[in-house]
Each structure stands twice: as structure tokens, then as C-alpha cells.
Chain length 333, copies 2
């Protein structure tokens, strides 16, 4: 009886604390990252293997993880990616971390969701340079994969839909809760230093927050690169390539600032190597504001509090090819 | 008291079983893989990060794990590897699994041990295409690495010696005990089927065992490729390039057969795609023996029992570069 009352009291206190935290977070234009929910664990395990499997590329050398490396903030940390035969990619690889929170995928939003995105690079001649049919041929030749697809999807026929659904399900788990900033949002007022808090205040008062807000601190709108001043770097059409609307030229999906300390270099062309440089350029081009050295340092200090818990999982072991598996052609035509 | 007697009895029985197993194994020309021992765990954790860190390459794209992929039997499963700017490697990447058991490293044995081997690819213009000095510059610019080196090696100065020692220490953990064949060696007579045992008998009786023996079933001698018949594929000088002795031409380190189901394609040039093909060619060229289809299938069945427990560890998260870190040049000169 005593224990029951005590438990009820603890539940009540926890409830109050949770409500308090929720209120604190609701006051802010940024919400804490929530752990992944409603996840199909079998699909995640299958998707994890596919994410790491370079046999989905023509060369047998490039996997999803090559350019969205989960040891390195879900990016490749180079300006633009290396594709099949060392082709130079046209745009910076965005981080896969928290990408389930994006309103759409790719810089120009041409894919509605993670599932649609995953189909792109496999068949892009400048990236993995394969075809969906050839990728399926590889998968279908590997009994351990066939069994696992059957187990997860409950049917015999494997199509690109199951492949991309599994990869997308794994990617949904790649959220990064528990950053110091989120601890602060959730009520731990010791989690940030004065400098970091000053940086957050500057971030809001200067207008950065207008585009970088919400759970992912970005990823939820398309905005023009170069509002006050034009951007001097490479400028693809951006969103206009998708909508055909000239008003959308130079519009890009606003990148998430979650884990931004890990996702250098910055911008669609990866031209900014450091956060200091990125904050300076963003201030001038988007807000018409020249941050002082001190202000810049404060904003950067705030941005570095956005690094959350990185994905933690055992490196997957891939099922081996069989005598029937078509071999990759890294150097062939 | 009762419990003590019982424990003693169990200890006695276990002891007898262990001696029995040891005798069984001693009777055979192959010994079971032992788990890694005398390992410096701090050094292993540091070495694991370095092993996965593509910043040790010029492009920022190629890590040790690119060509010795621990998701795929410690190999890249392509005939010869892809180096900086998609250069075609001259020879098949041998597995890193159980490589601590090799008498020397590389096909021609030009490196005495794993530590010496690890220094090679970083500075090889056809592989990671970096220099040791540049790699050290990257590491020294990353405070989390500097702290970890200090903690592990107890000194401030980082040299290539500490880098390669850490990578080698991690690689020492990449042994694969507990294959079904080892279970059989250790006394579990149910671990193999009749077909697999027949294959092992053929493997011994035909003479394969002359070169493929010991704990790694290879890796412990240099032998000529093409004893009875010359090999028709690409033929580098092999061991002669190291010794300068013409008698060593076409001599290569005998590859381990541990995990051979995972380490396709086979031979120094990766020209044999399947075990069936490899067994057939080895039989004819090395032993003057044409295995029948049935014999070949039995030997292959035996070889597939050599797959052990694959390395199991959490994907390492790499410490981020800083403003001071030199940036990779994937497409630069």
C-alpha cells in the first residue's frame, strides 16, 4: 500500500516535470528532437544492411554510407560527393541525420520522402550508376537477403519499393536527441554556458530563426539563397528545377542545423569550410547583417550545442554473394 | 560442502573434455582460431577510429575499411581495389581478418607485420595517395584525437608509429573463432555434415593441406603460383620483388582460407569468382589433379565451414575536424 502511494506520488511529480519541460520547450521556436517511434525493427535491420551494401552500385564500391557516412555526421565532409569512376557530384551531400524531419528530400525537394530519395542515387549515373533492375538482380541472388525480405514484407517478390522502404525505415532511426541545447529546452538550465545562450539570443534576434526553426532547426521550408546580396558561388536552379516556376530559382531546402559541427563543409556547394565563415556569409546575404567577431563566435558556440547523440549500432555483416550473383564492374564499361 | 564437491567434479569433467578437445585438434594439421589475447583496449578503440577514418587519405573518401570492409569479410569483394581518383589497383586486397596470423603482410610479404603494413596504403599514390606528414597534420588538428593519443601512448608527440601501432592493435582483434570447422576440431563431432567431412578428407589427401594448414589455413608460407601448370592470368613478380631472388618469381604468400566464402573473388588477381572455379584451378595448377564435379563440391562444402564469428562492434563515431584541420582534396591536383 505504502509503495503504491509512493509510486503514485513519483508518477505525479514526473508528470509535473514533464509538463514543465513541455511548456519550456513550447515557448521556444525550436523543439527538442524526439527519439524515433513506430519503427518496424525487422525492416530497420534489413535497411541497415542495404544502407551499408556497396553491391547496390555498379562498381561494388559505393554504398549509401559512402556519402552519408554515419561515422561522420551522416555526410562525407567533402564539398561535393565522389560518384562512380570518381565523378564530381554537382551538389553537397546533405546529412542523413534527422532527415525524416525534412518536408521533402534533396536540396531542391524533388523527392517527397526518404523512400523516394533512396531510389535516386542507386540509379543516378553520376552516383552509384546502377539500375533498379540490376540492384534487384543482386539482392535476389543472395538467399539470406531473400529470406529476410520475405520475413519482413511477407511476400516472395522483391521490388525496388521494398528495398527503398527498408532503407527509409532504417533512416528514420537516425535521429539525434539529447543535444545540450535540447537538454536546456527540456528544463536543464545548466546545460548551456552564458556564451552559448547569448549566441542563441543573437540567433533569434538577428532573424536566423526565421528559416532555421522547428525540431530540425531547418528542413521545413524552401528559401532563396542570397536574399539581400547574391551568392557568389556555384548556383544551380534549385527548387525551380522541380516546380518550373522562375520565382523558385536559387531556392533550396533550408538545411537542418542539427549536428552542424559535424556536417561541414556548408551550403549547397560545400564552399564554406567553417561555421565562422558560414555564419558570416549567412548574416550578410540573408539578413543584411555583419556579425562582429564576438557575435559570430557566440552564434557558433550556440550552433555547437546542437550535436546530439549519434546513431549507435553494431556494424552490419552483409550476407555473401553466391555463384549466381552478378559481379560488380568497377573498371568495366 | 556438497556444492564444493559438485563444482570440483564439474571442473574435472570440463578439464577432461578440454584435454580431449586439445588432443583432437593436435591430431589435425589445422588448429582452431583462438580469440585475441593481450590486447590494449584503449589502443584498439583508437585504432578502430583510425581504421574507419577517410581523412587519412588525400581525397577524404578512402579509409582502411574501404578496401578491407569489415561488413564483407575484411575485403572489398572486387578483383583489384579502387584507389585515389578511381585508379585500378595492381593486386587483390587480401582480407584483414586473421591477418595477425600471417608470417608477413601483403601478397609479396614486403611488410613484416600489421604495423608496417598499415603505413603502406596511406602513402601509396595509387591507394590513399596521402603522405604520413599530411595524415599527422590532420590528426594533430583534432583535439579529441590528440587527447586520445596522449591517453593511450602517454606522450604528447604523435608520429606515424603511434598511428600504425593503434591500427595494428585494432586489427589484432579481427580474428574469427568459432567456425563450424573449429567446433568440430574442438570435439563437437555433430558440427560438420558427412559431405563437409568428406571434403576435408579430400582437402588433406589431395595435398591442399601442404600449403593451407595451421591456425589460419594458410598465411604461413610463400609458394609458387603455378607449380604443375603455369597460371594464365596476370603475373606480378611476387616474392622476388622483395628478395631480388629469381627463384622467388611468382611466389606469393599463401592466402588464408578462413572465411573464404566471404572473401571472393580469389587469387592475387581476383580472377576466380567462385570457390568452385578456385578449387578447380588450384587442383590442376598446384597439384596436377582434376577434381571431379562431386569432389569439387565436397571440398567447397568443407571450405564453407571455415566462416567464423565476424567482428562485432559499434560503428565508431569520428571526432570532427576543426577550423584548423587541412581539408581533403578529392578533385584537386
Amino acid at each position: 500500500m505504502k509503495r503504491t502511494i509512493l509510486s503514485a506520488a513519483i508518477a505525479l511529480i514526473s508528470g509535473v516535470a514533464a509538463i514543465g519541460a513541455a511548456i519550456a520547450a513550447d515557448d521556444e521556436p525550436i523543439q527538442p528532437i524526439r527519439p524515433a517511434a513506430n519503427i518496424n525493427l525487422g525492416m530497420v535491420e534489413l535497411g541497415k544492411k542495404l544502407y551499408f551494401d556497396p553491391r547496390l552500385s555498379k562498381s561494388g564500391f559505393i554504398s549509401c554510407n559512402s556519402c552519408h557516412n554515419l561515422s561522420m555526421g551522416g555526410t562525407d565532409n567533402i564539398p561535393t560527393s565522389i560518384g562512380d569512376k570518381w565523378q564530381e557530384g554537382p551538389i553537397n551531400s546533405p546529412t542523413v541525420l534527422n532527415s525524416s524531419l525534412n518536408l521533402a528530400q534533396f536540396w531542391d525537394g524533388r523527392a517527397a520522402d526518404l523512400k523516394e530519395q533512396a531510389a535516386g542515387p542507386i540509379a543516378n549515373p553520376g552516383e552509384m550508376a546502377f539500375t533498379h533492375t540490376l540492384a534487384l538482380g543482386v539482392i535476389e541472388s543472395i538467399p539470406a537477403y531473400v529470406r529476410e525480405f520475405k520475413q519482413v514484407f511477407g511476400k516472395d517478390k522483391i521490388t525496388i519499393d521494398e528495398v527503398t522502404a527498408a532503407i527509409a525505415e532504417f533512416e528514420k532511426t537516425l535521429v539525434t536527441p539529447n543535444s545540450r541545447f535540447d537538454q536546456w529546452l527540456l528544463g536543464n538550465k545548466e546545460a548551456l554556458t552564458k556564451k552559448e545562450l547569448d549566441g542563441y539570443k543573437l540567433f533569434k534576434d538577428s532573424g536566423c530563426i526565421a528559416c532555421h526553426n522547428g525540431e530540425a532547426i531547418g528542413g521545413n521550408s524552401f528559401q532563396k539563397m542570397g536574399i539581400v546580396e547574391p551568392y557568389k558561388g556555384k548556383m544551380p536552379d534549385g527548387r525551380a528545377a522541380v516546380t518550373g516556376d522562375d520565382a523558385d530559382r536559387f531556392n533550396f531546402k533550408v538545411p537542418t542545423l542539427r549536428n552542424v559541427e559535424l556536417t561541414y563543409p556548408y551550403f549547397h556547394d560545400g564552399a564554406a569550410n567553417t561555421l565562422t565563415e558560414a555564419v558570416d556569409i549567412m548574416g550578410r546575404l540573408q539578413l543584411g547583417k555583419k556579425f562582429t567577431k564576438d557575435e559570430n563566435a557566440k552564434v557558433v558556440a550556440f550552433l555547437k550545442t546542437l550535436t546530439g547523440d549519434q546513431p549507435s549500432f553494431t556494424l552490419p555483416i552483409l550476407p555473401p554473394s553466391t555463384d549466381k550473383t552478378p559481379r560488380p564492374t568497377p573498371f568495366g564499361k
